[in-house]
Point group: C5
Chain length 385, copies 5
Amino acid sequence: MTQTHISESQIPNPNELEKAEEEEYDYFDYFYDEPGSEPGTLNIEPDAQPSRIVLIDYDADHAVRKVDVIPKALTPYLGTNTISWMDVQGLGSETILKQVGEIFKLHPLLLEDIVNVPQRPKVEDYNEQLMMIVQMVRSTENDEGFESEQVSFVLGRKYLLTFQEEEIEDCFDIVRERIKGNQGKVRQGGPDYLMYLLLDSIIDGYFPVLEAYGDRIEDLEDELVIKPKTSNLEEIYTVRRELLALRRAIWPLRNVTNILVRGESDLISADVQIYFRDCYDHVIQLLDIVETYRELASSLMDVYLSSMSNKMNEVMQVLTVMSTIFIPLTFLAGLYGMNFKYMPELEGKWSYFVLLGVMLLIAGGLSYFFWRRGWFEPFYSLKKD
Amino acid sequence: MTQTHISESQIPNPNELEKAEEEEYDYFDYFYDEPGSEPGTLNIEPDAQPSRIVLIDYDADHAVRKVDVIPKALTPYLGTNTISWMDVQGLGSETILKQVGEIFKLHPLLLEDIVNVPQRPKVEDYNEQLMMIVQMVRSTENDEGFESEQVSFVLGRKYLLTFQEEEIEDCFDIVRERIKGNQGKVRQGGPDYLMYLLLDSIIDGYFPVLEAYGDRIEDLEDELVIKPKTSNLEEIYTVRRELLALRRAIWPLRNVTNILVRGESDLISADVQIYFRDCYDHVIQLLDIVETYRELASSLMDVYLSSMSNKMNEVMQVLTVMSTIFIPLTFLAGLYGMNFKYMPELEGKWSYFVLLGVMLLIAGGLSYFFWRRGWFEPFYSLKKD
Amino acid sequence: MTQTHISESQIPNPNELEKAEEEEYDYFDYFYDEPGSEPGTLNIEPDAQPSRIVLIDYDADHAVRKVDVIPKALTPYLGTNTISWMDVQGLGSETILKQVGEIFKLHPLLLEDIVNVPQRPKVEDYNEQLMMIVQMVRSTENDEGFESEQVSFVLGRKYLLTFQEEEIEDCFDIVRERIKGNQGKVRQGGPDYLMYLLLDSIIDGYFPVLEAYGDRIEDLEDELVIKPKTSNLEEIYTVRRELLALRRAIWPLRNVTNILVRGESDLISADVQIYFRDCYDHVIQLLDIVETYRELASSLMDVYLSSMSNKMNEVMQVLTVMSTIFIPLTFLAGLYGMNFKYMPELEGKWSYFVLLGVMLLIAGGLSYFFWRRGWFEPFYSLKKD
Amino acid sequence: MTQTHISESQIPNPNELEKAEEEEYDYFDYFYDEPGSEPGTLNIEPDAQPSRIVLIDYDADHAVRKVDVIPKALTPYLGTNTISWMDVQGLGSETILKQVGEIFKLHPLLLEDIVNVPQRPKVEDYNEQLMMIVQMVRSTENDEGFESEQVSFVLGRKYLLTFQEEEIEDCFDIVRERIKGNQGKVRQGGPDYLMYLLLDSIIDGYFPVLEAYGDRIEDLEDELVIKPKTSNLEEIYTVRRELLALRRAIWPLRNVTNILVRGESDLISADVQIYFRDCYDHVIQLLDIVETYRELASSLMDVYLSSMSNKMNEVMQVLTVMSTIFIPLTFLAGLYGMNFKYMPELEGKWSYFVLLGVMLLIAGGLSYFFWRRGWFEPFYSLKKD
Amino acid sequence: MTQTHISESQIPNPNELEKAEEEEYDYFDYFYDEPGSEPGTLNIEPDAQPSRIVLIDYDADHAVRKVDVIPKALTPYLGTNTISWMDVQGLGSETILKQVGEIFKLHPLLLEDIVNVPQRPKVEDYNEQLMMIVQMVRSTENDEGFESEQVSFVLGRKYLLTFQEEEIEDCFDIVRERIKGNQGKVRQGGPDYLMYLLLDSIIDGYFPVLEAYGDRIEDLEDELVIKPKTSNLEEIYTVRRELLALRRAIWPLRNVTNILVRGESDLISADVQIYFRDCYDHVIQLLDIVETYRELASSLMDVYLSSMSNKMNEVMQVLTVMSTIFIPLTFLAGLYGMNFKYMPELEGKWSYFVLLGVMLLIAGGLSYFFWRRGWFEPFYSLKKD
């Protein structure tokens, strides 16, 4: 697991917060070598899980599953006619990874890409092997942000080698169950069909993650129009940033699936090619969705600005109405509070009442003026909230 | 029918509103499989209509229409030389759909795309069959938003198989009438010409929907310049979102019609290709329109912001003019309201009147200043409203 | 003529205004068939002009012009070796149009595109005929907005058939004069050269229309910086909308001329191809201009917003300066207007004058503060206006 | 010379200003024919300079320069083996231009493009001649805006024909000097190498013009952040407009040089092609720069708006702080200025001083509140300016 | 080193500041020749470092390093079978550079591009030599901005010639160490593998520079939402400008590496091509990152504007709440401060207290009104800061 996104509402202590913030920007921030370092260097991350190998060997008639296999024990399976799926879980044990690399004759650069996560999704054809790297995503538990994990495939003639960052319960389990229970066509297919099944489940995993963003955008829009808050601003920004990250993971998938559809490698049979066409369609749909959400998220900022402008207008109207009505009245009161010796009005018996009448007239006139302009609306609209 | 858009003005009760809001964002939110699910799984939506099959069998001389045909009864029509149009209405009956799939030997992935709506419009060539998926749209009754329905075509040598989400009165009825009444060239053409007629009526159905958005944008612009309201903000956003959804449905249509024009499949005769060229032209025109409206809708947000800014300017001018004129007068009144023992001015016989004169001069001078700047305009403009 | 744009300044009565507004959005709003209608249906608009045919028959040696020719009378000219230009003016007479269609063996879809205006500009090759549809534009008399008219060409081996919406005096007259007077090379050229001459004059007609928008943008910018008004907002929006419409007419012209330059049809001779290259260059120049104006018009909105913001700043500065200077003075005056029995300052002989001095000091200090900040500018700048 | 841009600061008299404004928008506003005019018409502008021809004839051993050559005198040089550079300066003499056209057998459309300036840069291949049109730019003397001049090249087997709008001292002089002094490789090269030299110097001439815009943008940004003014708004708009014009001149240059690099014409030798590759690189660099500046200029508008918003915030803070502190104090003063008969506080010996204390407390409390919020900043920041 | 970016916080004296500002805009401002200057002219910058040559000659068995070699001493190494890496450090000595040019038979334009820095990254194939120009970047010490240096490669059959602007400790040292210590595969590889190693370390050097911008954007966003300042505005602008500069350097790298991957030159062996594929992947990742950061930086401006708008709203709310509550009270106080002879209320024993009660009611009512609207929030939120 490369990232953990921790929402504001469930932060347990400052240290964890620190860590969370450090990681916040890490969505697919590609791994890079120290400038000048030897090509092919494996950078084992300190917090990487130790590697363990799970082997599933099957054909139409049988299926065997072995856990915690040592690399050397894989050699016999390379020559057999059965399909072997070797799943390396955890990228923390350099020795195991290097041994696997030697047994399967992996190019040093290939092994480097598998271990130094995350890499940009890609397919590379090494004649007898087809290497594919993709990013798997899943929603975090609190439904804010998402987690990602790099999954690397090495497809051989009779085997499929996969590398995962974590030993976690995921959508691969369903495929394992299907092999075990001989459900569907998986046991009839080759390693290419198995790779399709795994890739398909990874791609399908993007949909619920994206849908969660659709819901957040919808919620945000409702909030923004009714009652914009500063925290909305931050959330719009976060949604935009995370959609950018998702887009960065999905765009290269388009290329990856397209290469598989064109079927330039003979490791993929014509039958399975049609299935990869289905993957390609799904990736295009993902791109459609991510671009739509990006546009909506971007126009949310306009909505926010306009909504703030609205709110300020209301504040100003209240101030202006109150000030403008009372300003002339206060002036008149001040006028007759002056201490001049000779002010004829002060002596009149009804002067005070006449002045009160004049004040009422002025206040009424101005109120009518503002009422006609609709500037009393902010006073009424209070009750609605 | 995939969506119902309910306008604010005619909301009957909170429950329905809830439902409407839930659905609001659903415009072409593509269907996706549960990650890890078996490829080819049919997901029957709980509210899907039960399927029924309407068969129209015709050639230049005769035309027969049969309603509620059972799938098995379709088999004889596959071998005949007459054109058979099998229209499956409603996607709710898994058994019927699977039987149809078996009779017509549909690829499991093809059947999955037909049933798990909505899918992105596409054409796929299965040698003996040409599959096309498109989205049909129609305006809702209250002219706000639109409804969409997926229509899937499977074109064979002598038959056309169509799948619709609903059994509803639509533009296909006109084609049915034309077959019945032997109007136009439909009875002389093959299933490819029939597919053209149906596709053409689907594409033509987009025009009035788009035109309604043109009208809404025009109305909005008029309102915004004269009297911007908060609800406009929401409507602009809604128009933008719905235009995005329409664009998402029309863009792939371009590709779909282009493939048909190039006529790579021999199921489409050269004569009919020219007709598909017409479809292609119409799709390009739709794209022209949708892009234009999107640009206009996007510039409406600018107009809104500018209009709000205008309004605030007016409010501020009123406040500033009133405050600034009375502030020095009120000060002067306060000054001569002080109770100092020795204030020579207070004793003068004409002091009071002199002061009144001075106040008049100040008020006049400031008024002239503001009049020259045009800041009295908001006071006049009231009358216009 | 498809549109009439009526400027605000010369609106004669409300009814006409209504009509103008109805039409305002019609710039190239493509014609569309009723969904489900028979392909090839001619939709004669109720206000379309009755059709009349003008025939000009010429070769290097002679030139004949016949007005109000009936369709049948055209047949003899199809077989001759002279160049025949048949100009159908007005699209209101279905019988005439259908007869012309039969005589020239026009494809029903072709005739539909000619009659159901407006269509998107395009070229289509029907082997023995080359069909081209373009939009001709001209400025309205009041120089606001523009009018458009669809011109359709059908180029044959020895004839050119043109369709215009109106019988109006236009740039084609100059070409007619040139044929009559045997000026230039027109009588030496074939119908392809004639088509070039007409297309060239249509394309050249876009330049003055676009130039008028350049002038309006320039005027708007001058106004906006000096004295922004609400009506400017509306005008910017209108200019943007109309430029969008023009762009929609010019973009497909690029494709149209490019097809003619590539000369895939043998109806266009190599000599004339070079001339079409000139047309292509002009269309590219038009696109250059329209895109530049669109960018300028779009940045005008920014200028407007900034200008409004400027204006509000000035208003606020006036309010703030006046309020802030008098607020402490008014407080002091109020303080010594209190009626406490024991207020030692009130008794002093010079107290009043000391206070006045203090007030002067405060007012002076604050004024200096504001002067240093430049907030007095809005007071000076009045005189400039 | 097509344009003169006159800065605001050095306007001598209203008439010139008028002229300057008229021309302001003319940057590369392409020349267009009167709609319907005869193709090949030469439009001599009334203020065009009379044409004169300067001939330079050279080979490795000798170099001759003749001024004010009459067109007929050019004929003998067409047949020789020496390189002849005919430079036509000024496009005002129709006779001379037509004679040149006849001698060199220029296509009428080619001559039209040369004379009717400005045209979009382009290369056209007429088999025995290669025609190239480009725009030369130079900064105006006051470093605001730029001037442009069209330079047309006709490259033949043994000659180079150039057309310039003006007889002015320009970068071509350096090339002339080099031919005269036999510096560099110019005398060893053919007319293609000469064309490269001239094109290279034209392209290099864009760099200082663009750099001046870089400086203006930098200056503007500094001003905007410190002290935004209304005139900045106008200048940003002008810079954006002029960069748009430059981009319009440079984009087609990319195509022009690319065609020369691909060397499809045999008039350009392989050796010289490598040199044109250098031109192409420079054009790409120009595009890089112009796009960068356009982005920067566009983000300047955001900076302006934000800066205005900043300024308004400061104004509002000053008003709010002053008003809010004094409003309760003034109320209290007013309260004890009332003339009720029974107001117990008025009688107390220390009442006045107690009230003063209360007022101090209130003022202090509010001041602390505002100080904590940082709203006193605008008061301090004055001193910095 | 081409640029030095000096942060505001550590400016030592005005002169240096001047210099820094002069250079500020220089990021990759391409070098250009004086218009009209002779092609192939070497422009030695006055502050360029004197050139010195470091030679490393090696094969699998031995490795020799010579410092300050004179150009002529390089000749013998051209004929040997060992790999020779000639590293020219500093571009200040014209004689040395020209001698190197002669010995290696460099094309004058090639030498010009190497010396006249900076140039746009590119690859050019001169048959027996492959020339590549790239820009190396490193963060400045204060982590604001970055420095760049042009590195030029000339790859021959058995040698690699490199040109650097400076003799500085950089990532090349690690490669030198590896040759010296015979680590990795470098001594087994040819000059093409050496070029890959150097290019790889240059590309990897972009990652930490970009990452620093990611951090700055993150910091900016945090600041903007909490407490926007004017200096943020400037910093956003700077970040955008510098990201534009980086993008300008990385985009052509994509083309450069792509050409190397396609391996059109036979100077690059098939084995090493796979390694260049790795470089290409890294460049694509860089582009991904730079585009993401550019989008984020651009949306920061929106955040800034919105945040300013927020702040102003708060200021206005404070002013409005305070003014509106006290305005009617002050009016009432003024009313009973009038000096009319006949004001019945003044005589009442409890009048004063009744009035105080009324005032309390008014203040309470208005406060409740504002509290309901949430306009008291800015008063609370102070404490949070």
